[in-house]
Symmetry: C2
Subunit: 385 residues, 2 copies
């Protein structure tokens, strides 16, 4: 079913290290800017959906919906949606349900995470909360899990280290044009290839960072017969969720995210569009190999050809279908609960023509892919002008 | 808007200490029993909404929707809803939105928490995740916060220790008739009054315990014109959420939960019923004073008269309007993420006449009140036969 959910406002904070701002400060900043963008006040908001993964463990806050609503000084229903790194996509999906149901008219979605105040070992352990108990017990980490997938992809399809490094080069180039990015600078192919090895074959510069940041959206279901205003409006026309096994060991293939394939198929059917219609995408490049697999699993190239597809330049700014113009998780940053929301903020900015230096010309349709863990959860949204 | 959400199946595990069962085992047990009750299989389920507060901190699982869906061996959308001790009510509220939206036809809600494997000090600290940062920093605990409310209620309305202890006596009596209860035995008024003081004026036996347990519901939106079957069906006819400040210090009064008043008002309007119609309730008696305030704030007696109202016997089994026939959080147990779901399971059992030894005769309408923290979140559901 094609939805008619309008995005009235959107914003992100700067992504990076915010040592002087709390988790709630970040949420508040993004919410205020989104409200301003929508020319609305908190009075207009009927419910707040907060996306976050680690507030319980890191900030000792397990009542985050109430905490955010209190921080905003309103007394409207608020709740937290959690699905590891896919929390953002899931919160948007959940918020949309309440609008389609007619229970709430205008809702605020806030994705937020604050990660840089902690030791790397603590964050690394915390992030394995997205995985399975058996994987944690075996000593696996997320770089380790994605390295297993990269190895499989290399063996099965001949994907190379250069293919992967090229994703980082492209996304850092995009980030260099994005003032909100955590790493707004370019990196060379040589530098990526020569950077410290984390888990073979992945290097430090194949990996997304930990980040503090927040993103916010204001959504409203628009009546079919409402008079058209002169203002351009971006709609969310599809919101789909698909799942896979939590454990990598239980998958048929290590070289794909099957849930991406299922979620994409559902989303294209919902929106009633074809792949050819999509002009721009934000995908979940937590590691460079993930963006290569995303291109294939979303159906924009054949399986195994993701590396070459990206190498062709088609997904670089100036190419036919730019991917991760924000810089992606890789270079814009990855505050986990915020990521799925921020992807939608970036696509909306592009469709409205306010993408700044990284603006893609004439884009009318965009897609986001948000992944939890190693693809146990995948959320796909389609946005249309 | 009156909803037409049918409960097709429901179940809870035994509440108590389950040292041989994991968090996922408990979720699985409750889900299987609810499916059996509904005469459905996992194939019939379109999405799973998991309610839980502390899996990240206690079980290191921050991708709980995916973990539960994988445990059940299905690949349907799954996500976790968190709102401290109101997580259960919020998950039901959220699941209902997806049904009203028409996105999913049949959904499974699972509330689950596993708490007894941990040191009391660890759990006590973890539970303060439901409160505000300033309260944690000040050394406040939940018994401390509710003790402040109890003191205010005593000073303002003349509520006595006996009024509070009487709530424990009633709920333990109900639990003595409930095979699923954590403490299925009676306690005397003298025993409650003489039990160890936790935070003046509350004693150990004024307080709900920590508990392992799970509860599950299968919900479906029923078409208005669907043919009536011979089977009795319980409907959720109202689902409302209201919020208050996270910090107790910011409240106008310490002797009430204003969010309960707002959520109840909305719920009665939604269902189109009056207080007189309600034959049975499950309310959030995390401490005995909370049940006294619930009677008042839900509007079943005047403000300040909750203690006498309960003392009158009207809310005891055999009385006009029994409250917490399960034994409540106090004596049936309080696995936080499961509580809001289990309240609905108990009311449905009663309305269907399968309440066992604790059956209330002829009840047609029931109400649940689920509280997060000290009432920053309150969720009210109304169920009708």
């Amino acid at each position: 079913m094609k939805t008619n959910i309008a995005i009235l406002g959107s914003a992100t904070t700067k992504f990076g290290e915010h040592w002087k701002l709390s988790l709630l400060d970040l949420a508040h900043l993004a919410a205020d800017e989104a409200l301003q963008d929508a020319e609305l006040t908190t009075e207009d908001i009927d419910a707040v959906f907060v996306s976050n993964m680690l507030s319980g463990r890191l900030q000792h806050q397990d009542h985050l919906g109430a905490a955010v609503v209190a921080e905003l000084g309103i007394k409207k229903p608020g709740l937290k949606v959690e699905g590891a790194c896919a929390s953002g996509g899931l919160a948007v999906h959940t918020a949309i349900q309440s609008l389609l149901a007619g229970t709430y008219e205008t809702v605020l979605v806030i994705g937020v995470e604050k990660m840089t105040d902690f030791e790397a070992s603590e964050i690394s352990a915390a992030l394995m909360g997205a995985g399975a108990e058996e994987e944690r017990a075996a000593g696996l980490t997320f770089p380790g899990l994605y390295a297993l997938m990269a190895k499989a992809h290399m063996q099965q399809y001949g994907t190379t280290r250069e293919h992967m490094a090229n994703v980082a080069v492209k996304n850092h180039y995009h980030a260099s044009l994005n003032k909100k990015a955590q790493f707004p600078y370019e990196v060379s192919l040589e530098k990526v290839l020569a950077s410290a090895k984390l888990t073979d074959p992945l290097t430090l510069l194949d990996s997304s960072p930990i980040t503090d940041g927040a993103a916010a959206l204001i959504l409203r279901k628009v009546k079919q017969n409402s008079p058209k205003s002169n203002k351009k409006t971006v709609f969310i026309t599809a919101s789909s969720v698909a799942m896979d096994t939590l454990r990598l060991a239980e998958r048929d293939s290590f070289a794909e995210l099957a849930a991406t394939q299922v979620a994409a198929k559902k989303a294209f059917a919902q929106a009633g569009i074809e792949h050819g219609d999509v002009a721009i995408m934000e995908v979940h490049d937590c590691f460079t190999i993930a963006e290569i697999m995303a291109m294939e699993d979303l159906g924009f190239c054949k399986k195994g050809e993701g590396g070459d597809y990206i190498l062709s330049g088609e997904t670089r700014l100036g190419g036919k279908r730019p991917v991760n113009t924000s810089g992606g998780l890789k270079a814009c940053g990855h505050p986990v609960g915020a990521t799925g929301v921020k992807q939608i903020v970036e696509i909306r900015d592009q469709l409205l023509g306010r993408g700044g230096e990284k603006q893609v010309k004439g884009a009318k349709v965009g897609l986001t892919q948000n992944v939890g863990g190693i693809g146990a959860t995948v959320v796909v949204h389609i946005l249309q002008l």
